[in-house]
Symmetry: C2
């Protein structure tokens, strides 16, 4: 699907960006803890509980603060002037929210809680002042923005190159990876989004999401332990990755 080779320039060596390093898991969790500690120690923070469906901020609101997720799951929804709504990001503990407001002076998305969570809000001007004193803080900020950009581009990549089924599989893999990186169990995840939300995020209809999940379940790549079908069991994340890869190379094995 859409394997238009754009260029055939000689390729440099490249670290396998999706292949999970063997252990190294707690690295992300540690980084998150460090960042939260840095914020706590050097900045006035507004802690805020956000319940399911409530927003941290809304598109159009004046930008003054950035927000760091202390717990919970969030989505960002891009709002076009003409009413189109697009889920453009999923965010977990340690992720920052609100970067899109810096340049424009107002937020460009809604940030909405997918369950009850807590965000720490810091005034952007105060953050800049603190960064001047503590370079680590600036480093954390830039790294977070950089990761956000990388993540958005990876979304573009899956959206453009994967079939609907593979996109759903990749979505589950992404969620499971995010859990694992934070030291949480990733063999069973609770989708905190409706099929419609997932479909919107992945650029397909809710029916297609449902069918894809059914197919993945039929192929034993996932299972639904509960009646509710909101919980997804992933016996083998590697197998999910393999499924995505397989869907790229329909028949022939890649020579060379």
């Amino acid at each position: 699907m859409l394997t238009t080779a754009v260029a055939a320039a000689p390729r440099a060596q490249m670290p396998a960006q999706a292949a999970p390093a063997v252990p190294a898991r707690p690295a992300v969790a540690e980084r998150i803890a460090d960042t939260l500690r840095l914020l706590q120690d050097h900045l006035p923070i507004t802690r805020r509980i956000v319940r399911t469906g409530e927003s941290v901020y809304q598109a159009g609101e004046r930008f003054a603060s950035l927000h760091v997720i202390n717990s919970g799951f969030f989505k960002t929804v891009n709002m076009a002037a003409d009413g189109r709504e697009q889920v453009v990001g999923l965010h977990f503990k340690g992720d920052w929210l609100g970067f899109d407001g810096i340049a424009a002076g107002h937020y460009g998305c809604d940030a909405i809680a997918l369950d009850t969570g807590e965000v720490w809000s810091v005034r952007y001007d105060a953050l800049l002042a603190a960064c001047a004193q503590h370079p680590q803080l600036l480093g954390a900020l830039h790294a977070a923005m950089s990761r956000e950009i990388t993540r958005d581009r990876d979304s573009l990549l899956s959206l453009c190159t994967l079939s609907a089924d593979a996109r759903v599989a990749d979505f589950l893999r992404y969620w499971a990876d995010a859990m694992a990186q934070r030291g949480l169990r990733n063999d069973q995840i609770t989708l905190r989004m409706t099929r419609a939300e997932i479909g919107n995020y992945l650029g397909m209809t809710l029916e297609t999401v449902s069918r894809a999940l059914s197919r993945l379940s039929r192929e034993q790549l996932i299972a639904f332990p509960e009646r509710g079908r909101r919980d997804v069991q992933i016996p083998d994340v590697q197998a999910l990755c393999a499924y995505v890869q397989r869907s790229l190379a329909p028949s022939s094995a890649m020579l060379q």
Copy 2:
């Protein structure tokens, strides 16, 4: 197409993000000039001419510098470990390149010149040091990253909500807007990409791009003044926007 309404929360007022402000055009050009001057005055800069097809950096290369486009047109190509290539961004004068390298320590994309251009490279560590002295520089850096994030999300939005024809129209509009913002003529643009590259960027095949351009031309929204069909004349950018909007509301006018 894919108008799954995810939520129906009460909506706050929101500035029309796509509607071009009446004049205000030189604002962006001025901002770019300011940024270039800031860099020039406070940092050691490596100027570099990059010819068509050459890369500023490649995926996997060690990250040490950010790059600002002084002239020319560039694309960034996301390289997946499995060989998938995805054009994830187009970049013009004043845009920064390389943000995705900050967090990972190595670049995640190739940045490739679409024609001969000049980039200014600054070492990231030197940039940080200079930012400590000149807060404006830090402001420019953050604004550029913020805009990058916003832009990526807008790409996701068009990719997920627009038909192929509308996506091509929106692509032309985007390019024309980028030109206008920089004070260049936008009634005629020279596409510096092949149909295959455009298609890759927009998530469709080169044939579909070709057909979409033919249809737009048939509807008088664009014209091909040259034989080569690389130059596109856009008599009325507004009409292009209207075309995109029209494709969203297939039949009924939006009540209320």
